[in-house]
């Protein structure tokens, strides 16, 4: 027995030694990477976790105060809410869009050129893209191209009102009634009711407008209710409020109606000197109304940068940048699909939609998951777009965790304790996605 064991033992020792040496060499090779990883990743993470238990100055230990403060602060809660919206909406939209585009581009002739164009935004920095979209989303149609299009379409379907800026001085000759106006006093046939407006820029008065003074003085007939609608402002000042002064013009094209007991009896439009008249009226008490349609404000477009739409708007800009990425990755996966399966399905009479749903998507699932998870992680750290596109007044409505963290710790807040707590929260949220990705990676390797 011993004679058998002896050579065996002698054989083990050099093997062990070799193994040990191998391990040592491996350690030497790994060391630089470990050191770098430790210094650049592990240490900052641990430091941030530690820092999050201290106050703004970093001197006093405050326990979990920063964490409770974090969930009490409405601005942070809003950032958490926005981050959630981002994570739920953006990757789904992007993966979906990428898939649809990848499948479609497979079938067109200039596929490469098309893909190239869609991929181009990836080459634009977030900062530049942010500036571009900030301008594109501007509400004033003269600046923002998107609203210019929206307003253009809207205006070609609906008419604009003649006097969007006109208003009356409080209760002088007119009373505000909803969006329109009505004469202050009730009137009957034989009365003259003059209605004075202000606030119309000289450039917006129709060219044919004539002085209203003469028409204002003419007396009404027996069964007639008449008067003028005029601009109660003498250019250069000097007129008397509520009176039709010599230099003051009538307002042509104004719709006026006579109303009795809530029912419109007659309607007319004013002439060049602003005069209107209703004749053939039965005796009784009437109100003269100037309906809202005269004053409807011009369509302002969509308030993309307002508090309600700011997050969807920024997600839109994000889509513009990343769609190309999703599409190219998915298209690569698509190219690797076994053609024979698709052909077989076609032979069996499946239509294109069935093929897409039953064959392409299931086979592509691994690629789709990779794209999706990568995008989730990417979306978590979105910063530049939010910071640049959101104007000051709505910044709080647009903030995501990353911007909030920066603002709290460096952007004026100067509270790196709270900022670190936010960073830890962000880390905690990214870690599951990371673990998932690494696991998948391992599985596909084995």
């Amino acid at each position: 027995m011993s004679s058998v064991e002896a050579p065996a033992r002698g054989a083990v020792t050099p093997r062990l030694r070799a193994q040990r040496r191998k391990r040592l060499v491996a350690a030497v090779f790994v060391l630089p990477a470990l050191l770098l990883l430790g210094a650049l990743v592990l240490y900052p993470v641990i430091f941030s976790v530690g820092r999050s238990f201290f106050d703004a100055s970093g001197d006093t230990f405050v326990g979990a105060d920063n964490y409770t403060e974090m969930f009490r602060d409405p601005a942070t809660l809003k950032a958490i809410r926005n981050s959630t919206i981002w994570v739920v909406v953006a990757p789904v939209l992007l993966t979906g869009l990428g898939l649809v585009l990848a499948v479609l581009t497979e079938k067109i002739r200039w596929a490469t050129a098309f893909k190239l164009v869609l991929f181009l935004p990836m080459a634009v920095s977030f900062l530049a893209a942010g500036i571009i979209f900030r301008l594109a989303y501007e509400q004033d149609p003269e600046r923002g191209v998107i609203n210019a299009a929206v307003v253009g379409v809207h205006d070609s379907f609906s008419e604009s009102s003649p006097y969007p800026n006109a208003r009356s001085r409080d209760g002088e000759t007119l009373v505000k009634d909803g969006e329109g106006y009505r004469g202050k006093d009730a009137a009957g046939p034989g009365d003259t009711v003059n209605l004075g407006f202000v606030g119309v820029p000289p450039g917006e008065m129709p060219g044919e407008a004539k002085p209203a003074a003469d028409a204002a003085k003419s007396t009404a007939g027996q069964d007639e209710l008449r008067g003028v609608v005029w601009l109660d402002f003498t250019p250069g000042g000097g007129g008397t409020a509520g009176e039709v002064d010599a230099k003051e013009n009538g307002m042509p094209g104004m719709k006026v109606s006579a109303v009795r007991d809530g029912e419109t009896v007659a309607s007319t439009t004013t002439g060049d000197d602003g005069a209107y008249s209703f004749s053939g009226l039965d005796p009784g008490s009437y109100t003269v109304e100037v309906p809202a349609s005269n004053f409807a404000a011009p369509y302002q477009g969509v308030s993309w940068l307002g508090p309600a739409l700011i997050t969807p708007a920024i997600i839109g800009a994000y889509l513009w940048i990343w769609t190309g990425f999703a599409m190219v990755l998915i298209a690569a996966g698509l190219a690797a699909l076994p053609r024979e399966t698709l052909e077989a399905a076609r032979m069996d009479g499946a239509n294109e939609f069935q093929i897409f749903r039953k064959i392409t998507v299931p086979l592509l699932a691994p690629v789709l998951t990779v794209v999706f998870v990568t995008l989730v992680i990417n979306v978590m750290k979105v910063f530049d777009l939010v910071y640049i596109i959101a104007p000051g007044p709505v910044q709080e409505d647009a903030n995501v965790l990353a911007t909030q963290m920066w603002l709290v710790s460096f952007g004026g807040g100067n509270d790196q304790g709270l900022g670190s707590a936010l960073a830890v929260l962000l880390l905690a949220l990214v870690v599951p996605a990371m673990i998932f990705n690494i696991r998948r990676f391992r599985r596909s390797e084995s």
Binding site: I131, Y387, G392, G412
Partner: protein
């Protein structure tokens, strides 16, 4: 932000702010001004010495300041070197000191930064001669703002007048009104102007600082300099009755949608450069815009207006029984301890305290001096003269921008603190009391950390 406020030229204000942190440093490190040609004659008392001066100024401003330095060279024989510090003066000076390259003189744009420098022990108290010149030529308030503890460190060479309401004379003529003298009159005037068809005010509410400036003027006039100081140092809470009153007063204007171009919602979408364009641009939309004297510079440089003809201002009117406010700010010259030519630097400060030095830049334009001995005739146009006169005449009642004196997280950050809360107030001015309470909460948080 501050640079933009001064020159107000950058359209993409916020974007530049986004990269300011890194850019300012990079620029500051690389963009150094060249050595001045200076007179070669070396017969002055300081001949052979070079004074290094750092300032935020670039372009025309740097060129004009260089003229002042050249005059100093001529008088003393010292050479001068102007270095651009970039926006973040304290970072710039700090890194220069650490690198052993400290400038001899630094022009510091904020009162808080002068205090910070003094507390870090970076500064030398000014010589008794410089102090004497200052006492003789400046109102006491300027010396106070340059004093930390009991020592006098900062000489305010260049100032801004942030109590000027700019208007388009055409628009006021069209409405037949004259520039108002009181706040109540201003509201009435604004009403008449709006009736004439031109909305009275363009307000750049998308930039929070324009709103803090509005508030500061109303508050300084209505509550008086005493309370203003207390509020600036946060020795008095923002929930004080005087603050609520000032907000109510401001709300009379902000809350009237007929007085603002596009109403308050429109004002919140308008940044400062655009608000100036709305009054002085090629297609004027509104009649008046309130901000500092630099509005005139923009109207002149960007929109080809002639100051005093088609771009004028009236002093921010007095509110209630108070005096007309003068809110200001300025660049203070300080001498650094680590500078190599400290003595020559001190001589430069003594020179900057004289009216002669101020007159040089005043003639070149784009400059206001708090020096009361400076002949107003030195300014190149009447409008600037009037702005300077307002500033000097206000004497000791001049107050520095309150939000500049507050911690940055409260008084100087986009999207939070005072900026954001006043923006909310512009959007809905119905509850001044609630606004005051929210401001106080934000202030408490910020001041406790600084």
């Amino acid at each position: 932000m501050r640079r933009t406020r001064r020159s107000g030229t950058a359209k993409a204000t916020r974007i530049s702010a986004a990269v300011a942190g890194s850019m300012a440093l990079a620029l500051g490190a690389t963009a150094c001004g060249g050595e001045s040609p200076g007179p070669a004659s070396g017969d002055g008392e300081l001949s052979g010495q070079t004074v290094t001066v750092s300032a935020v100024w670039t372009g025309v401003e740097a060129k004009n300041f260089q003229k002042v330095l050249d005059a100093f060279s001529e008088e003393t024989g010292a050479k001068t070197q102007l270095v651009a510090s970039g926006d973040n003066v304290s970072t710039f000076v700090g890194s220069k000191i650490e690198g052993g390259q400290a400038p001899d003189v630094a022009m510091v744009p904020q009162v808080g930064v002068v205090q910070q420098f003094a507390q870090k022990g970076w500064l030398v108290p000014l010589s008794s001669k410089a102090e004497m010149e200052t006492t003789r030529n400046f109102a006491g308030v300027w010396k106070n703002y340059g004093t930390v503890g009991t020592k006098f460190y900062g000489l305010y060479f260049k100032a801004a007048n942030k109590s000027t309401v700019w208007y388009s004379p055409d628009a006021l003529d069209q409405a037949g009104v004259k520039p108002p003298k009181t706040y109540a009159e201003m509201l009435k005037t604004a009403g008449t102007v709006s009736d004439s068809g031109t909305p009275a005010f363009a307000v750049g509410g998308e930039d929070g600082w324009t709103l803090t400036d509005w508030f500061e003027n109303v508050y300084l006039s209505q509550a008086g300099p005493g309370k203003y100081d207390k509020l600036a140092s946060h020795d008095m809470p923002w929930t004080d009755k005087s603050v609520v009153e000032a907000l109510e007063t401001l709300g009379e204007l902000f809350g009237d949608k007929d007085l603002l171009y596009n109403g308050s919602a429109g004002a919140l979408r308008t940044d400062f450069p655009t608000s100036v364009e709305q009054v002085f641009g090629p297609e004027p939309k509104a009649a008046m815009v309130y901000e500092g004297d630099f509005v005139g510079g923009i109207a002149k440089d960007q929109f080809d207006r002639t100051l005093g003809e088609d771009a004028k201002f009236f002093p921010f009117p007095a509110v209630g029984k108070g005096d007309a406010p003068v809110v200001s700010g300025g660049d203070a010259a300080v001498v650094l301890k680590d500078g190599k030519n400290q003595k020559a630097g001190m001589k430069l400060l003594e020179y900057l305290a004289t009216p002669e030095a101020a007159a040089i830049w005043a003639e070149a334009g784009g400059f206001l001096s708090p020096n009361k001995e400076l002949d107003l005739e030195s300014y190149s146009d009447e409008t600037t003269q009037a702005a300077a006169k307002e500033l000097v005449d206000a004497g000791d009642t001049v107050r520095f921008d309150l939000s500049d004196q507050a911690p940055a997280s409260f008084g100087g950050t986009k999207g939070t603190g005072l900026w954001k809360l006043l923006q909310d107030f512009l959007g809905d001015s119905s509850d001044p009391k609630a606004t005051a309470a929210k401001i106080e909460a934000a202030a408490k948080k910020a001041y406790s950390k600084s």
